[in-house]
């Protein structure tokens, strides 16, 4: 049984003009000790999915169905207080987008870690401090800097503090939302490496959210490609990188020239992401899809498994796609 089983999860934002279906019937699994990468354009619902799992929704966001099972327990059904106490940080912790801002500037970094420990574990303050110092040490930060403020740290160090903080309560799963976006390339790879090492060492599961496929390629086992609140392609990283089967996935993968040795032109897909208030009928990708025809406009494709390695694709035209054919090339 997978550590995390997400089935048919739906989360909508209520706005003045109707519901924004940010997460719409999404299903995936994360096995213990494995990492799942979630990729997609900005606004496709990646971050929404992460906050849905941790139930950190803004007041207008609401889960409209589906289940999230952690170790077999449906955490969607837990009441808020229960969830806060037993799941957050204890079972699932998170590394946020833009670590710069994930630390409260007016509190000392150490205290922010201690706070997390004390919130969940019945330990003395001194003990918590000790553990926090260990954690800092573990991510390669001198524990003496415990009493300093976030603004005294560099970006990479802050990110490492955030990682240390995420590890504070020995969670089973870490959700990392764009953990490296704001960092420069050198620091990025350092942080990624540190994360990878820790994950391996502690046998953690991870859900990594990014728009940067190369990051996923470096760190993840599986990948789910999201488009307009839905997963359109899901499977093993290598499999998908080698043979993307969804037109969107194909476009996305091909737009990262550095995945494979060969150099291709960087390009972006034509068109705009759809408005999630009123997503297109049928396949949500059809307005941008070069293969779209009538059926794509009418019927929503299901995520079905094709081939081996549980590679799943949601596309009517999957038969038309020959492996390796670049439909986006002119």
């Amino acid at each position: 049984m997978a550590l995390l089983e997400v089935r048919d999860l739906k989360m909508y934002y209520k706005t003045l003009r109707g519901y924004v279906k940010a997460v719409d019937s999404v299903s995936f699994d994360i096995e213990k000790g494995k990492a799942l990468g979630i990729a997609g354009e900005s606004g496709c619902g990646k971050t929404s999915m992460a906050v849905t799992i941790l139930r950190l929704l803004p007041s207008n966001g609401k889960i409209h169905g589906g289940s999230v099972k952690l170790d077999g327990v449906d955490i969607v059904k837990l009441d808020d207080e229960e969830f806060r106490k037993s799941i957050r940080w204890k079972k699932i912790s998170m590394v946020f987008q833009g670590a710069m801002n994930a630390l409260n500037p007016v509190h000392r970094v150490g205290d922010q870690i201690v706070e997390a420990i004390l919130a969940h574990e019945d330990v003395s303050h001194a003990e918590a401090v000790k553990r926090a110092e260990d954690l800092l040490d573990m991510v390669g930060i001198n524990p003496k800097r415990f009493r300093e403020y976030p603004h005294e740290f560099s970006g990479g160090m802050k990110q490492r503090v955030v990682i240390a903080m995420a590890l504070a309560c020995n969670p089973d799963l870490i959700i990392a939302d764009e953990p490296t976006t704001a960092l420069d390339v050198m620091v990025q790879s350092q942080v990624l490496k540190a994360m990878e090492d820790l994950r391996k060492r502690l046998d953690l599961s991870m859900m990594l959210i990014t728009h940067d496929l190369s990051v996923i390629a470096q760190t993840c086992d599986d990948i789910a490609i999201m488009y307009a609140g839905k997963i359109v392609e899901y499977g093993n990283v290598i499999d998908i990188y080698d043979h993307p089967m969804h037109p969107y996935g194909m476009g996305l993968v091909n737009s990262f020239p550095n995945i494979k040795a060969e150099r291709t032109r960087v390009r972006s897909l034509p068109g705009f992401p759809p408005n999630l208030l009123a997503p297109p009928e049928g396949c949500r990708f059809h307005p941008r899809c070069p293969l779209a025809d009538d059926i794509c406009m009418e019927e929503e494709p299901k995520l079905i498994e094709i081939g081996s390695n549980s590679h799943k694709v949601a596309c009517h035209k999957v038969d038309m796609l020959e492996r390796g054919v670049d439909i986006w090339a002119q």
Binding site: L56, N60, A102, N104, P105, H120
Partner: protein, 327 residues
């Protein structure tokens, strides 16, 4: 330590500002057309009497001497003699300052309390009526002329439903007994202070709400929530704590504006304070008095700014620890 250096820097800067204001003060009144003493000369004065007055007001010295004398005197709070009363301006200001402080502090405290608590309350209740109300009140506060609201309130409660006094700080004669006098004072304070609060709290509430919302939308708040902290802790320890610096900035930043506004409030409600003194002096072309009042107001603003800098330094560690860190 960084903080004392920071403090010193602010002090030096405040001193420079005071000096510039003094110079400015000196300059504007000497540059004006006409002879200031003309105002005080009475048809019964002989040329000797006029000359004596000119000497008394120091108008016969060369400008540079006048300047140094002036600056020197200002440091001693000697602001000269008022043209219209021929009393030391500083004495007259001393008589009026307590009234201004009372009005100012009352308005300030109530505006702060009401504005900030309404702001925090509505920030936690997004999209409700209260929220829209604050947005409306804030915009209104920005767009509406304060003196107009004050005039309307004055007309409503002073004339149409005459339940509140329309001028001054106390009844004449005041009632007997300390407690009754205190109530009498409060009775006189309701309109001016109340109108100030009414006009100003909206923008404070809106600002607090926006900063609070911004803070609540910050990643570290999400982090704090994700950490499984209690909502209460998140609000108090993380959100409120982090909006303190901007709110302190707002509080102290609004002080000069409120001091400036005192001129109008005091004029409308015939509140016998420094602002009204300035207005009267300007109207009567009593330049030493106007200079003195302006100097006092400007000084108050500089002090407020300095206080803001200091408090800000205390609540925001990024400043306390000095110029280092990520900037």
């Amino acid at each position: 330590m960084g903080f004392s250096r920071y403090l010193l820097k602010r002090l030096v800067y405040a001193f420079i500002v005071v000096f510039v204001i003094m110079t400015f003060n000196f300059a504007i009144f000497r540059l004006m057309p006409g002879d200031a003493t003309k105002m005080i000369i009475d048809p019964t004065f002989t040329p000797e009497a006029i000359a004596e007055l000119r000497r008394q007001f120091g108008l016969d010295d060369p400008p540079l001497v006048q300047y140094f004398k002036y600056i020197g005197n200002l440091f001693k709070f000697d602001m000269g003699l008022s043209f219209s009363t021929r009393r030391p301006v500083v004495n007259e200001l001393k008589e009026r300052l307590p009234n201004t402080i009372v009005l100012f502090l009352t308005s300030f405290i109530f505006t702060t309390i009401i504005g900030i608590s309404v702001g925090i309350y509505t920030a936690s209740k997004r999209g409700t009526f209260g929220d829209n109300f604050v947005t409306g009140a804030g915009l209104f506060a920005y767009a509406v002329p304060a003196f107009w609201i004050q005039l309307l309130l004055l007309m409503l409660f002073g004339y149409y439903i005459p339940i509140l006094p329309i001028h001054g700080t106390m009844s004449a004669p005041p009632p007997d007994g300390f407690f009754l006098q205190f109530l009498d004072r409060i009775h006189h304070l309701i309109l001016p202070a109340g109108s100030n609060v009414l006009v100003a709290f909206g923008s404070w509430a809106l600002y607090t709400r926006n900063t609070m919302l911004e803070a609540l939308g910050q990643d570290y708040i999400v982090t704090a929530r994700a950490k499984g902290l209690e909502e209460n802790v998140v609000l108090r320890h993380h959100a409120l704590r982090s909006v303190l610096p901007p709110i302190v900035t707002l509080i102290f930043g609004a002080l000069p504006g409120m001091v400036s506004g005192a001129v109008i409030t005091e004029t409308i409600f015939s509140w016998h304070g420094v602002g009204k003194y300035l207005m009267d002096a300007v109207m009567m072309q009593d330049y030493p008095a106007a200079q003195g009042a302006f100097y006092l107001i400007a000084l108050a603003v500089v002090i407020c700014n300095l206080a803001a800098d200091i408090v800000y330094g205390i609540v925001d560690p990024r400043i306390r620890v000095g110029e280092g860190g990520a900037k």
